[in-house]
Amino acid sequence: MPLAVRAWLMRLYPRPWRDRYAVEFEALLEQCLHSPLDVVDVMLGALDAHLQLLNGENVNWRLMNMLNKLRTTILIVFAAFIGFVVAGMALNGILDDSQMIPLMKTNPAPNIAMSIIQAGAIVALLAVVVGGLPLAITVIRRAVSVERRNLGLLLVPVISLFVLMLYFGFIFLVASGRIQIDGVVPVVQPGNFPAGNRLMLAGLMLVFILGAIASTLAVWKVISRTNVERETFQAWNRALDINIYKFAYIPAVVAACSMWVMLVATVIWSWLVFTTLPQVFVGDFGLWMTSTQVWISSIITVMVICSLAALFGIIHGRSAMIQA
């Protein structure tokens, strides 16, 4: 049967059914859809699936759909967290050796705001580690034993880290004077920040951001491909059977809440710095001695996007969490 007929037949099935069976069913139709009787059989099958939904039958593909929703939630929160980490590292880079450090030592308000940001970062990181650990172990186990095509994707974060370390090594050699490049000085000063140095540091940021994006996409793809909801772990001489996505949901909520707390604290901290040190805020004290306010605004924008994405993810998975 032509592809168009098969596609039309697939569309007759309810969406949750297709979410669960479409790929394998399409592969089956390619092989065995020969006669008009088979077409009628598929149409009756689609009608039956709709009736199952209408009758409210407790069918597994609805549960599967809910687990897919939970998986999407976990992936969205994970990606949002990575985005937040990138923004947080940029904020940390601006703070290093800046006039804001002495300010925070003498003024308790921005100091408290920064402490809240740091506490939020620790809580979010712990939540991601705790929630993601069973999932990470499961994904690696499956990649080694069954889904070997995932092994290549799992190497992406490792390779990204390796490339970043290489780049750091290159910068270290330049800074120590062992490598000399025209237009690049080993140590930059406020009045002497050549274009070559700016380019080199922009390259570092590019490698870091591209590595973070590639690693997040690879992890996303691997988790999407790993069709396991439950896994058994041995701990304290006991076998623990864990629904990995349900288990990760509460830590995901904690991570999302921490992101919002950090966002609010960052906005307050920025406002306090702006009112106390306006000359720093309007000056060029951002990364690579570029505009501070552009950097702070960009960091807050990324944080807002990531916090909204995490909130969307949590709401998306809430109904599934209740019913799963």
């Binding site: 059914w17 669960r20 069976y21 790929v23 394998e24 069913f25 399409e26 592969a27 089956l28 139709l29 092989q31 065995c32 859809l33 009787l37 088979d38 009628v40 059989d41 598929v42 149409m43 009756l44 099958g45 689609a46 039956d48 699936a49 199952q52 039958e57 407790n58 069918v59 597994n60 593909w61 549960l63 499956r142 069954v146 889904e147 790993t226 069709n227 396991v228």
Partner: protein, 102 residues
């Protein structure tokens, strides 16, 4: 759970369970096995209607997909269910033979 609860899919469901009792199979392999062993041609819609119900009842479980095909296997619950059904069928067959001999 009774076989009759599968409605118009009761026979296909049992055929699938019997087919998977011989080892894990994907949809097309099940169709071929059932056709070869029971002489019954299951249409794709009927096959997946039964598969979704069997999976929903926890009698079979999906394994990781191989390319686009997803194999299924019998769960311990599914094996017990099939064993129980075949035992009751055996009693019925024995009774039928006895009556024929009378």
């Amino acid at each position: 759970m009774e076989p009759s609860e599968f409605g118009r899919f009761s026979d296909p469901a049992l055929l699938i369970l019997a087919s998977l009792a011989g080892g894990e199979k994907h949809g097309y392999a099940m169709m071929e096995d059932i056709e070869a062993t029971a002489g019954v041609h299951l249409g794709p819609g009927t096959l997946y209607g039964a598969i979704s119900r069997l999976e929903g009842e926890g009698l079979i479980e999906a394994l990781p997909a191989v390319e686009r095909r997803r194999p299924y296997r019998l769960t311990p619950h599914g094996a017990a269910f099939l064993r129980q059904y075949l035992a009751s069928l055996q009693k019925f067959v024995s009774l039928g033979y006895k009556r024929l001999e009378v």
